[in-house]
Amino acid sequence: MHSTRHSTRHATRHLGGALSALIALALLAPFATPTLPGAAADVKLIALPKRDRVEIQLDVPGLTLIEEERTIPLAKGANDVVFAWANTAIDKSTIQFRCMSDPENVQVISVSYPPNENALTWQVSSPTAGPAKVRISYIIGGVDKSYEYRAEAANDEKKLTLWQYVQLHNRTPESFGEADMFAGYGERLERPIGANETRKILAAKFENVPITKTYTADLAQHGYLDPAKRQLKIPMHYVLKNDAANGLGRFPLQAGKARIFIADGKAEGEGTTAFLGEDWAAFAAKDDELKLFLGVAKDIVVTRTIERRDRKKTAGPLSDYDIVVKYEIENFKDQPVSIDLAESIAGLRAEVLGDAPRAIEWVLGTEGSLKTPDALKSTSDRVLFHVDAPARGADQKAQKKTETLNIVLKNEW
């Protein structure tokens, strides 16, 4: 038995090398193979069946599952099937053998793992002699995926076309041939995957997706552009919602790099695009927004000041603080824009009162122009308002628009 198995693996390696296959399957029927009288006892029938089909499952990050289907000739009785690999990071403990053609009767009796070798031997029993379709699956390292997006906005920045690419990275010296691939969402893809190859595949394309270009004024999150002048940094984003109403929503959008372009507005067939920049797109669940950062706005100026801080004593040492935050908004663009004005209540209290180890009780005061926060996106600590800023006038002067937010911090001491 010992010499048999030794020579078997030897032969497997040799044949594997000759076929340039780094993952090799050898079938032995040591007890069923007739041998001539006087013939060497370790002469065995060795077959290296080709893969009939390969599936690559990439749905769980870090756990890429390869499933290969092969047709192997089995002898009646016990068969030794040797599976060996080299230069490939296969997790030995995850290798499975499943018979698809006769799962009830063709069964693995045991699996043997020789020491210090990337190989194992299945002892497979078969009730009959003949071919069996089997699937061998294993977790492999060096094969993974990443996502990439190309977003091409229309010239008016009202819609964009979004291409989602999945990139399969095969960093192993193993070629998987024509592989059926599933990245976890969307359609299954069938492509050849060669050794040490990266293949970029268009996974989905979404056309005419409505977008909103947002300008966000949020001191707590983005800080000042010019602290001395209290001028806020105003990041710009394309925001698209991953829902059916906007032509998306079939599956969550995975995180990945997004390159953003904009059409130059020329007639169809003549126009080109300009590169606006790139961003790491975060995971966007269904019904969530995907925000693509475009840079910091230069044509929108928002100056934030604390216009009023009135302390009103209520009972004993308790006081309410009546605070008015003033936002002066100037839009130097020739298009009207919508600005998201956000205020952190904790940030505001720290600014006017300092930190205190207490929850904050507050209400919206009646004096501010900002009265109706976005109900879905506001919380007990952050209020968000949407403010329209008109385009600059014909005289090229921006109209200064002033908004005020009245917050009353209650029962402070």
């Binding site: 038995m1 007890f31 009796i109 004993g316 007990s380």
Partner: protein, 463 residues
């Protein structure tokens, strides 16, 4: 290269104190049988082997050596299986300078053959369990197969061994591997002779392989026998297995053909961290086509059957020991199809109490007391309105369970029909339909300062 040898020196009539001087010819009786009892809680295996030895009337010396193995010399024992009344183990000698050898001085009343059993502990032979579960498309059931893998790194080959695997925890005061490497302090009387031994030809072993080869033609998958013993459970592998040093062998322990699976989502930060996790719940009982034995701890690999016939990975998770009849769970982590948010929507305070100077009396404006600027706030209630928001994008309703501890003197006000898991941990559950966004609202009233009289959570129905 021989590693572990039992030899019977030919010169049998040598005095006990200096046996086997210059003995250079010995016969090595082969093992008749060997049984391995392998524990998984500690690195310990009980080996019991039987051998035939030839003895002469009078005093005999049996030498046992175990070079390059991990045998605990303090555990070696010799017993006589036949004619025990005519054989006596007089003593055991651990010779100086040979830490991996001993001599058994045996007194016999007869000339002839004796059957002995030698048992000892060794380390380096281990077994582990692992499991493979494959769920149906809708994840309502799965096949769940258990496997055991025996690995031999003891330094010795065990051919044609009967194998028993023990599930359960045993108590050891010293590690066998340490004992094997440290050896015993030899007695003053030393045995300095070195024996050169030769292996007895073992045609029987070759014959056995041939028999095994024939048997393999008809061989089916072995069904491992499960049997309870005291606090332990023993899995016995039918027949015999050959496990060479450095090799490992994996066999199926059981086959769960149609195991019902209950899927539940839980937010329990004490158990699963600060996230909503998806769990499969399974019970180890007959109705689940399991329950023949406890499930030893081991790695679980869960897959989902794809319409193509292929598999996709759900999760690779560990499981702990599962007694017969107990429900166990697989934590699958976050489900990207189920979005969970915890939101605080509003906070406010009331019921203030004040202290004035060194007075013991406390003042409350809501009770009609007048308070002064120099009074100190010593008690109040914090109110926080919260939402647990769950969005379900799966194709079926999901059951979601919440259990999280809250510190302080707190009233949990809600219409969620909660119960208390313990004095500070509300527990409530809901069902979220496919495509639904569900907000579970509640209010926490936390009594602070002098208002706090307990450190516990009370439940109150929302008005």
């Amino acid at each position: 290269m021989w590693k572990k040898l039992l030899s019977v020196p030919i010169a049998l009539a040598i005095a006990w104190t200096a046996p086997a001087q210059n003995i250079d010819v010995s016969t090595l009786p082969p093992r008749d049988s060997v049984q391995l009892t392998i524990y998984n809680s500690e690195d310990i295996t009980l080996v019991r082997e039987t051998r035939h030895v030839t003895v002469k009337q009078g005093d005999n010396v049996l030498q046992f050596s175990w070079a390059n193995t991990l045998i605990d010399p303090s555990s070696l024992s010799l017993t006589f299986l036949e004619r025990a009344n005519d054989l006596e183990l007089v003593d055991t000698v651990f010779p100086h300078g040979r830490p991996q050898a001993l001599y058994w001085n045996v007194r016999s009343k007869f000339d002839g053959e004796a059957v002995v059993a030698i048992s000892y502990f060794t380390s380096g032979i281990t077994w582990t369990a692992d499991y493979v579960g494959i769920t149906s498309d809708d994840e309502s059931s799965m096949t769940f197969d258990g496997y055991v893998t025996i690995a031999n790194n003891s330094g010795d080959d065990y051919a044609d061994a009967s194998v028993r695997l023990v599930v359960g925890t045993i108590n050891l005061v010293e590690r066998i591997r340490d004992l094997a490497s440290r050896g015993l302090v030899p007695p003053a009387a030393v045995l300095e002779s070195e024996s050169r031994m030769r292996d007895m030809p073992a045609p029987a072993a070759e014959a056995a392989k041939a028999v095994l080869a024939d048997a393999l033609m008809e061989r089916k998958e072995k069904e491992i026998v499960k049997q309870g013993l005291s606090e332990y459970f023993i899995f016995t592998v039918p027949g015999e297995e050959t496990i060479r040093n450095g090799h490992a062998k994996r066999m199926r322990l059981f086959e769960g053909t149609k195991v019902p699976v209950t899927t539940v989502y839980r937010y329990r930060p004490m158990e699963y961290g600060d996230q909503l996790v998806k769990l499969f719940l399974v019970r180890n009982d007959k109705s689940s086509t399991l329950g023949d034995s406890p499930l030893p701890d081991g790695a679980v690999r869960l897959f989902r059957r794809q319409p193509t016939g292929g598999l996709s990975v759900i999760a690779f998770v560990p499981t702990k020991y599962v007694p017969i009849g107990q429900e166990f769970e697989f934590n699958l982590g976050r489900d990207p199809q189920v979005i969970f948010e915890r939101l605080a929507t509003r906070t406010w305070r009331d019921d203030f109490w004040f202290k004035r100077g060194d007075q013991q009396k406390l003042y409350s404006p809501t009770k009609g007391d007048k308070v002064n600027d120099n009074d100190t706030v010593v008690g109040w209630n914090d109110h926080e309105a919260r939402l647990e928001r769950v969005r379900n994008y799966r194709g079926a309703p999901i059951n979601v369970e919440f259990r999280f501890p809250i510190s302080g003197d707190v009233t949990f006000v809600s219409s969620l029909d909660p119960t208390l898991f313990d004095f500070r941990t509300p527990d409530f559950k809901t069902t979220v339909k496919s495509g639904e966004r569900k907000d579970l609202a509640y209010e926490l009233v936390s009594r602070q300062g002098t208002n706090a009289t307990q450190n516990a959570v009370k439940l109150e129905a929302a008005k």
